[in-house]
Amino acid sequence: MSMLLSRSNGDDVSFAVEDLDWDALTVKGTCQEIEKRYLRLTSAPDPATVRPEDVLEKALHMVETSQKNYLYKCDQLKSIRQDLTVQRIQNELTVKVYETHARLALQSGDLPEFNQCQSQLKRLYAEGIKGCHFEFSAYNLLCVMLHSNNKRDLLSSMASLPKDAKQDRTVKHALAVHSAVSSGNYVLFFKLYKTAPDLNSCLMAKRADGLEECEEWLKAHGAVLSVDNNNGELQIDTKVSSTSLYMPEPDNAVSHGDASLAVDDFLARTS
C-alpha cells in the first residue's frame, strides 16, 4: 500500500484524494448496502465499504423514489459518486447519477453543487457517453447568460452547440430567453418563464424574482400603485404619484439654482 503511494509522488508532499494513483488502486467493491452515508475518503478504501455497480444502480433508484429531503438525497448521491470514482466507473450510470444530482440541486437552488455536477457531465459527454446532453447544454447556456457577466463564455457556449442541438425544445427555449434578454423584451422573458420546459425556470428564477423588491422600492419613494381590475396588471398612477414621488437631486445641483453662476469668483472679487 505504502509502496503504491510512494510510487505516485516521490517526495514527501501531503496528498489529497486526487493525487492517489487510482489506476493502481482500482478496487472492486463488495459492499451490498443500498443506503450509505457520505464519508470523504482520504486514503485507499476498503473494498468491503465500496458498492459494486449493480448495487449502485439500486441505490440511485432508491434516491430517485425517496420522499426524504434534499440534504439526505445530496448526501446519498455524493456517496454514490465517490463509489463510482473509486472504481473508475465512467459510463451511462455515472452520467445518470450526475444528471439526477444536478437536477435536484437546481430544484433546491443549490447552484454550487449544480455547477460541480455540470462540469463532470461536460467531461463525460465529451468522452461520448450518452445522456441528456441537450438538456444540460440548455442549462449551461442559461447559467452563463443569467448568472455571469462573461460575454466570452457565452459566445463560446453558443459556438460549441452542435447543429442538431438547436432542434431540441429545451435548447430552443434557452436561446429564445437569450434573445429576449438581449433586446430587453421582458414581456417575452416572463412568457418564456411561464412556459419553460424541463428545469429552465429554476435558472431563470433569480432574474424573474425582484418584482416584490421593485414594488417595495417604488412605494418607499412615494409611488401610488394599484391593480387594474381588468387584467390584474400592477400599475403606477402617475397623476396621483407626481406630488408624492421622490425625485433624487441631480449630482450637480447648486443651492442657489443657477449652476452657471461663478459663485467662488464673485465671492473672491467682493472680498
Binding site: 460575454k151 466570452r152 423584451n185
Partner: protein, 409 residues
C-alpha cells in the same frame, strides 16, 4: 537532397553554423544572430539538418567547441534537428531550453544589440508551440506547449520592462503574448501586461515602433469590443486602421472586421463599397436592415453568418443592433403617417407597429411591442411617452428620433 553525406562534410557544416552563431554574439551582430535562430521557418531538409542527421554526436561537438554557450547551442541544434524530422513537440521542448539560455545571456548584455534576435526567439517559440500543440492534439495528448510558451514570454517581458533602452522591445513581446492568449481563449491574462504597458512609468507609448503600436491597438481594441466599451474600442481600432501600412490589405481587413460592428453600435454605417473592397460582405445585410428598419433581415443575417460571428466574437454586439432597427421602423411609420395625416402623425397606435412587424413575419403582441417601445424611450432612441390605456405611443413634437451621434445605445 544529398544521397550520401560524408561525416567530414557534415562535421564541417555544423561547425560552420556554430561559428557563425558564436561570431554574431562576439561581434554584437543582432541581425545575423536573429536569422540564425529562425528555426521554424526552415523548409524541410536544409543542408544543416542533413548534416545533423548524419552526425548524431552534434550536441557534444557544440558543447566542447563553445563551452561558454553550452546551455544554448546543443538544445538549439536539437530543436533544428527535431523540426526537420517533423517532431514538433520535441523541437519545442529543445527550443524552449535554448530560449531560456538565450534569455539568460540577454539579461547580462548591457546594450539592446540583440533585440532583433530576442524578437525572433519570441516569434519562433510561439510558432513552434502552435505546431507542437497541433501534433499533440492529433495524437490524443494534452496540447500544453502554447501555454508554456506564454509563460516563457512573460519572463521575457519581465526582462524588457526595465529602465533603459531595452524597454523599446517590450511591445513586440506583448503582441506575441496577445496572439497566444487569444488563440488559447485565455484573454483575461492580457490584463496584467496591458496594465504594465499603460500605467508603468517605464514606458512612453509614443516611443514604440509603429507596427507594434498598430498590433497592440488592434488587440486591445478587440478586448474592448468584448467588454462592450464601444467608444474606447472605436478609438483603438481607428488608431490601428489609420496607422496600418496600407499595403497590408489583409491586416486592414482584420481591423475592419471588428471596427465595423463597433461603428454600427454608435450609429455610423459603412458604405457597401467599403464592404465589397475588403470582402466583408457578411455585414451587408446587417447594414441594410439598419437603413430599412427591417428586423427580419437582421435576424436572417445573424442566422446565416452565425458561426462566423460567434467565432469572431461580434455576434452579441450585432444582436444588440435590434433596438436601432426598431427605432428605424417606428420612424418609417411616423414618416408615412405624416404624409397621410400630418395633424395626428405624432401619435402612433401600438397596433400599427404590431401589424408592421407581422408584415415582416415577426409575431409579437401588443404587450411585447409596448415593452420594446419602453426600452427605446429609456435608451433615448425615441422621445415620447405612451398612453397605456389607449395603447398609443405619443412622440415628442421635437426631434422624436434622436441620432446616436457617436454615443453607444
Amino acid at each position: 537532397m544529398a544521397a550520401y553525406l560524408s561525416m567530414g562534410e557534415a562535421h564541417r557544416r555544423i561547425a560552420d553554423y556554430l561559428s557563425r552563431v558564436a561570431d554574431s554574439v562576439s561581434s554584437s551582430d543582432g541581425a545575423a544572430l536573429a536569422s540564425l535562430l529562425a528555426v521554424s521557418s526552415a523548409q524541410a531538409p536544409t543542408p544543416l539538418s542533413d548534416a545533423l542527421s548524419a552526425f548524431p554526436d552534434f550536441p557534444r561537438l557544440a558543447a566542447d567547441r563553445y563551452p561558454h554557450l553550452s546551455d544554448l547551442l546543443p538544445p538549439l541544434l536539437r530543436a533544428i534537428h527535431s523540426h526537420s524530422l517533423r517532431r514538433f513537440a520535441d523541437a519545442y521542448s529543445s527550443f524552449e531550453k535554448a530560449a531560456n539560455a538565450f534569455l539568460q545571456e540577454f539579461r547580462n548584455w548591457e546594450t539592446p544589440w540583440a533585440m532583433e534576435a530576442m524578437h525572433t526567439v519570441a516569434l519562433e517559440i510561439r510558432l513552434l508551440a502552435e505546431k507542437a500543440d497541433r501534433e499533440l492534439a492529433t495524437s490524443g495528448k494534452n496540447p500544453d506547449k502554447l501555454q508554456a510558451a506564454g509563460s516563457f514570454l512573460m519572463k521575457v517581458f519581465g526582462a524588457l520592462a526595465v529602465k533603459g533602452p531595452k524597454r523599446i522591445g517590450a511591445l513586440y513581446v506583448t503582441c506575441q503574448l496577445f496572439k497566444i492568449y487569444f488563440r488559447l481563449g485565455t484573454v483575461h491574462l492580457c490584463r496584467s501586461v496591458i496594465r504594465s504597458i499603460e500605467t508603468a512609468r517605464n514606458f512612453d507609448f509614443e516611443d514604440f515602433p509603429v507596427k507594434d503600436k498598430v498590433t497592440y491597438m488592434y488587440y486591445t481594441g478587440r478586448l474592448e469590443v468584448f467588454n462592450e466599451n464601444f467608444l474606447v474600442a472605436d478609438q483603438k481600432l481607428t488608431y490601428a486602421l489609420v496607422h496600418c501600412n496600407p499595403q497590408y490589405e489583409s491586416n486592414l481587413r482584420r481591423i475592419l472586421k471588428f471596427l465595423i460592428p463597433v461603428k454600427l453600435s454608435i450609429g455610423v454605417l459603412p458604405r457597401i463599397t467599403l464592404l465589397e473592397r475588403y470582402n466583408l460582405l457578411e455585414y451587408a445585410d446587417v447594414v441594410t436592415s439598419l437603413k430599412r428598419g427591417d428586423l427580419r433581415l437582421l435576424r436572417q443575417a445573424l442566422e446565416r453568418h452565425e458561426d462566423q460571428f460567434l467565432k469572431s466574437g461580434v455576434y452579441l454586439v450585432l444582436e444588440k443592433l435590434e433596438l436601432q432597427v426598431y427605432q428605424r421602423l417606428v420612424k418609417k411609420i411616423h414618416i408615412i403617417q405624416r404624409q397621410k395625416e400630418p395633424a395626428k402623425a405624432h401619435q402612433i397606435k401600438l397596433e400599427v407597429v404590431v401589424k408592421a412587424l407581422k408584415w415582416l413575419e415577426i409575431d409579437m403582441d401588443v404587450d411585447e411591442v409596448e415593452c420594446i417601445m419602453a426600452c427605446l424611450i429609456y435608451k433615448n432612441l425615441i422621445k415620447g411617452y405612451f398612453a397605456h390605456k389607449s395603447k398609443v405611443l405619443v412622440l415628442s413634437k421635437q426631434d422624436p428620433f434622436p441620432k446616436l451621434n457617436g454615443k453607444p445605445v
